[in-house]
């Protein structure tokens, strides 16, 4: 089943075109990796999926992006509801300068998910457990989230995102600021999260794409060159460019 369908997506930053006619389907409950050299439009495409490009004044998006068969690029799309369904993890961990508890309770609070204090406590604990962070922080959830290590902060951000149970989680190079051990933890977590969420991850590391994803899309200079199952892309790509990139001949 296709969770997300992108059709003829073009993105412009001012006069410069960043994405050219992207057509891509993303399957539910799988991890889809987007790979490609820097500046090829992977992150831009990712940001089209929850309309984070709206924040950038000069950015113009055209084309159709359907999530659950609903076109999110319509004028009257409620971006608040959209982003509730499509969460996002950023390259640099960006916890709010508040306590760990408040970091996670913020989402349920603004969306009115928890009715009572005990329900909120449950959500916070459950989210932290799912993000494999509970054991490490359970004694200090009322201390600032910014006091955690980088890997913990990123898992806190993941916990924050899953606290409102999004259907899709977008990850923009979530491990690029982390050491190998923290990276391994996050990768393990991604595999776990796939049961309940559809995950799209932008990564610079091809080995990471091979490890965590079921499907892979290869971007180059704003075009989607090839997309398919990770196995096929890495072992038997149809395009010469993909072959060259995967084998490290460029990029």
């Amino acid at each position: 089943m296709n969770k997300i369908e992108a059709k003829n997506v073009d993105v412009y930053y001012g006069a410069k075109q960043a994405l050219f006619d992207i057509n891509m389907d993303i399957e539910a409950n799988k991890v889809t990796a987007l790979i490609g050299p820097s500046g090829c439009g992977k992150s831009t495409f990712l940001r089209c999926l929850n309309r984070m490009n709206d924040v950038i004044d000069i950015c113009k998006v055209s084309g159709v992006v359907k999530i659950n068969d609903y076109d999110i690029n319509q004028k009257d799309t409620d971006v608040v509801r959209l982003r509730e369904k499509v969460g996002m993890i950023f390259q640099k961990p960006n916890p709010f300068p508040k306590t760990i508890y408040e970091n996670i309770s913020y989402g349920p609070e603004i969306h009115g998910i928890a009715q009572s204090k005990s329900e909120m406590d449950n959500i916070v604990e459950e989210s932290l457990r799912k993000a494999a962070l509970w054991e490490e922080v359970k004694d200090r959830i009322h201390e600032p989230g910014t006091g955690l290590s980088g890997g913990q902060q990123q898992r806190l951000c993941i916990a924050r995102t899953i606290s409102i149970k999004p259907e899709v989680i977008l990850m923009d190079e979530p491990c690029s600021a982390l050491d190998p051990i923290a990276t391994a933890q996050i990768e393990e977590l991604i595999d776990e999260l796939r049961k309940e969420h559809t995950i799209i991850i932008v990564t610079h590391s091809m080995s990471q794409a091979a490890r965590v994803s079921q499907n892979t899309g290869f971007f180059h200079l704003g075009k989607l060159i090839e997309v398919g199952s990770t196995d096929k892309i890495f072992k038997n790509p149809t395009q010469q460019q993909t072959q060259d990139y995967i084998t490290g001949r460029f990029g």
Binding site: M52, D57, V80, L82, Y106, I110, T161
Partner: protein
């Protein structure tokens, strides 16, 4: 008392207006010629000599609105016009200093722009805004010229009960007394200056404490 009332009036007008203006300009307003124009004007206003604001107070508040002369209310409003640009500039600078990643985090959580601004950006920018406000108020507290123009020069020896009563303010008192050649006024002026200085130190100290408290909470 005259100074105190003026400053209170000034604070209660200038701070909210300046904060809202800064938030609008920084977070919501589109970047175009019109907002550029406003920005230039704000920077200009910050550099306008205070006596011009005094004239404005005289012309508009006293002549047009018919507010009572020599009252801290009029003084406060005039001073708030003067401090407004200073606070706006400080508030905008500290709003700018809030990392965009925090805004993105809140937006990605499905917070609306209003929620993002009110829950995250403004609280984070508040310490910086407060320090800007202090600078503005301290400047206003020591301001003499505009107050002379709106008539806060008369020697009033009663303590005002409300901001609507006539009152003298400290810097104006110093100005008048310093001109008097009679004996004993040197001491009076010195005393007055010391009171003003204490007032300023006290204010800055208090504000510094508030700032520290906020900064601890947010970092």
């Amino acid at each position: 008392m005259g100074s105190l009332f003026s400053i209170l009036v000034c604070l209660s007008i200038a701070f909210p207006v300046a904060l809202l203006a800064a938030v609008y300009l920084e977070e919501f307003a589109p970047k175009n010629r019109f907002t550029d124009f406003i920005e230039v004007n704000i920077n200009n206003l910050a550099a306008v000599p205070s006596i011009v604001f005094g004239l404005l107070g005289l012309g508009v508040l006293l002549a047009v609105f018919g507010l009572p002369r020599s009252t801290p209310l009029v003084g406060g409003i005039t001073l708030s016009l003067m401090t407004l640009p200073t606070i706006i500039i400080a508030a905008r600078a500290s709003l700018k200093a809030v990392p965009p990643s925090i805004r993105e985090a809140a937006l990605a959580m499905g917070a609306s722009r209003m929620q993002t601004t009110m829950h995250h950006t403004v609280p984070l920018a508040l310490p910086g805004t407060l320090s800007g406000t202090i600078i503005g108020l301290a400047q206003a507290l020591g301001e003499t010229a505009p107050l002379i123009l709106i008539g806060m020069v008369a020697f009033v020896n009663t303590i005002p009960g409300t901001p609507m009563d006539p009152a003298a303010s400290l810097p104006v008192q110093i100005y008048i007394w310093a001109e008097s050649a009679e004996r004993g006024f040197v001491e009076k002026v010195s005393a007055c200056i010391m009171v003003l200085l204490f007032f300023l130190i006290f204010m800055n100290l208090g504000a510094q404490l508030i700032r520290h408290k906020f900064e601890k909470k947010w970092n």
